[in-house]
């Protein structure tokens, strides 16, 4: 953060500057995962599950992040299942008040040789839906707001396609085979991500759930650090890595990948996290979802936003995709607090 005056920025300029760790007129408010809620669905008449499968509804619901909540980003990919659906995973599309999900107990692959990308992968309706939604949003909002796409990393695809338990056991029983599986799956990450950039996404969220709740920091280093570095080099747009849960023990490795930003969970303290990454990567987060945004009120939200701002977190927002029943007033409080805080700290950029 600097202290020299910065002229007023658009939301898009603000986000892109924060991703480059350049000065901003104020801290951007971001949603690298999802801010879809039932209230927002009702407001614009774009409901789950259709808003995950119909580009017009997807764009309509995603836009509310900017138009209703005052965030600086629009994230049309609410879930983490679009490419898994296109790969042939068994899906549970659910209803308005529940997230679509992959039936991981019924995996489609059991061996590394099973990994095959269907020929029509990029033409699958659940892939095309995201690309068309991004195009619609870009057409509607121009350069006003940052549009962020989302492509799953190979570790998460491993959970979806092999099942969480078999994939984690494979990583222990046969690390070589696991690396080979990751190498093959990373092309899926690349294909879908690149197409979203070509469709108009300014940046990509790359969820890859090698969380401290499941695997060690050494696991992250051994299996994923080089691959994430390669993604940062290959993709022609900034990447926001997302990993839920405890991650402060691996943030040093993550900071060295060259990714633009890391979306971190409230299990990690903002100040400690900032100190761990040594300014090598922007941090996005980390307002608690279940206990604060879902369960409490604007006052508690305000306190968490201020803690992040005081720590110098470059982009503020929920820690992960928010529960669908989260009240709108708690989400708008994030943007309000950021604006108020910068008003009270006019020299912090």
């Amino acid at each position: 953060m600097g202290t020299a005056p910065i002229k007023s920025m658009t939301s898009r300029q603000r986000v892109l500057a924060a991703l480059r760790r350049e000065p901003v007129d104020r801290t951007p408010v971001c949603n690298p995962t999802s801010v879809a809620t039932v209230e927002l669905m009702d407001l614009v008449d774009a409901h789950f599950p259709d808003a995950n499968r119909n580009p017009v509804l997807m764009a309509k619901l995603a836009a509310t992040g900017y138009t209703e909540l005052g965030f600086d980003t629009i994230m049309p990919v609410f879930s983490i299942i679009q490419e898994s659906s296109a790969l042939g995973c068994k899906m549970q599309w659910e209803q308005k008040d529940n997230w679509p999900t992959v039936r991981m107990r019924e995996p489609i692959w059991t061996d590394v040789d099973d990994i095959k990308v269907p020929k029509d992968f990029m033409k699958h309706p659940d892939i095309v839906c995201v690309l068309d939604a991004i195009k619609l949003l870009r057409r509607e909002f121009g350069d006003e707001v940052a549009i962020v796409g989302k492509t799953m990393g190979p570790w998460t695809l491993g959970y979806h396609c092999f099942g969480v338990e078999p994939f984690l056991l494979l990583s222990l029983d046969d690390p070589g085979k696991t690396m080979l599986a990751l190498e093959r799956m990373k092309e899926i990450t690349y294909l879908f991500g690149l197409a979203q950039i070509e469709a108009g996404a300014d940046a990509l969220t790359l969820p890859d759930h090698a969380t401290g709740d499941l695997v060690s920091a050494e696991y992250y280093k051994r299996f994923l650090q080089d691959m994430h570095t390669e993604f940062a080099e290959r993709f022609p747009a900034p990447l926001i890595l997302h990993i839920c849960g405890r991650t402060v023990d691996r943030m040093g490795y993550i900071a060295d990948t060259g990714m633009a930003a890391f979306h971190f969970d409230s299990k990690n303290k903002p100040q400690e996290s900032m100190e761990t990454v040594h300014g090598k990567i922007s941090l996005v987060g980390n307002i608690n979802n279940p206990e604060t945004l879902f369960s409490k009120g604007p006052e508690e939200v305000r306190a968490e936003v201020e803690a992040n701002l005081a720590a110098g977190v470059q982009m503020v927002g929920p820690e992960c995709a928010i529960p669908l029943q989260t009240p709108i007033e708690n989400l708008t409080e994030i943007s309000r607090t950021v604006r108020d805080w910068h008003h009270a700290h006019p020299h912090v950029h």
Partner: protein
């Protein structure tokens, strides 16, 4: 009083020395493993190493040599998983390693379970377990179930994506005094609270104790939604279930 050096199995001795740090847990493990037969110590070491082939072989051999199924379960399999649980709680190992240990335990239980079932030992209590609606993750729940069964509970496993109605049906069908709900996602955690509300609406809250767990769940969240207890991991789940049952029985009208 037994000393760490009295434990005969070198693997167990090294594991307790390196990874068990709480004085009461050191005392308990030293007492347990110095008392346990060397064959049981070897089975526990196999569990800690996550070696399912070895545990399978040693369990079969121990039964053949005349050891009781209950002794093998308590002093070998569960004793080994106790150390695994401590290592997991303290972040010395993570889920892949725990899964390998659980696989080894399953190999041993394959020999033990049919014998215990046939012996007609009364369970401590029945526990209904399920991952909440909208959540398809079950590793944590399955580890809890394995440890609960190994510790003498009967468990009704409702699987994943369990609706409030399914929990209510199971409470009514089995008359279980405890349910356990699991969630791995912050987006599905609210469904724990919804299930508790549905249990209240069904008029069943007084008869059932509710425990919750899962990676994003905290004691504060459990308290806020009105659960009776929160377990951080499978070991905590077992001790919580025991505490809740003991308290319920203590407070029951004479």
């Amino acid at each position: 009083m037994a000393e760490l050096s009295d434990i005969k199995n070198a693997t167990i001795r090294a594991e307790v020395e390196e990874f068990v740090t709480r004085p009461e847990e050191i005392a308990r493990n030293v007492a347990l493993f110095t008392r346990a037969h060397e064959r049981m110590q070897a089975i526990a070491a196999g569990i800690i190493d996550g070696d399912d082939d070895l545990v399978d072989k040693l369990t079969a051999e121990a039964l053949k040599a005349g050891h009781e199924a209950l002794e093998i379960m308590d002093d070998g399999l569960i004793a080994g998983m106790g150390v695994v649980g401590i290592k997991f709680r303290e972040n010395f190992i993570f889920v892949p390693e725990v899964l390998a240990c659980a696989r080894a335990m399953k190999a041993g239980m394959g020999h033990i379970e049919p014998i215990l079932s046939a012996s007609g030992v009364d369970p401590i209590a029945t526990v209904i377990m399920g991952t909440v609606k909208g959540d398809l993750h079950d590793i944590g729940k399955n580890l809890c179930i394995m440890m609960l069964r190994g510790s003498g509970f009967e468990v009704i496993d409702l699987g994943v994506d369990t609706s409030a109605d399914a929990f209510i049906d199971a409470i009514e069908t089995h008359g279980a005094p405890i349910i356990g709900m699991s969630a791995l996602l912050t987006t599905t955690m609210p469904n724990m609270g919804k299930t508790i509300e549905a249990i209240i609406d069904a008029g069943l809250r007084e008869q059932v104790l509710v425990m919750v767990g899962g990676a994003p769940v905290t004691q504060e969240f459990a308290d806020d939604m009105g659960a009776d207890g929160y377990g951080k991991d499978a070991l905590a789940c077992v001790s919580l279930a025991k505490q809740l049952i003991e308290a319920k029985r203590r407070n029951a009208p004479a």
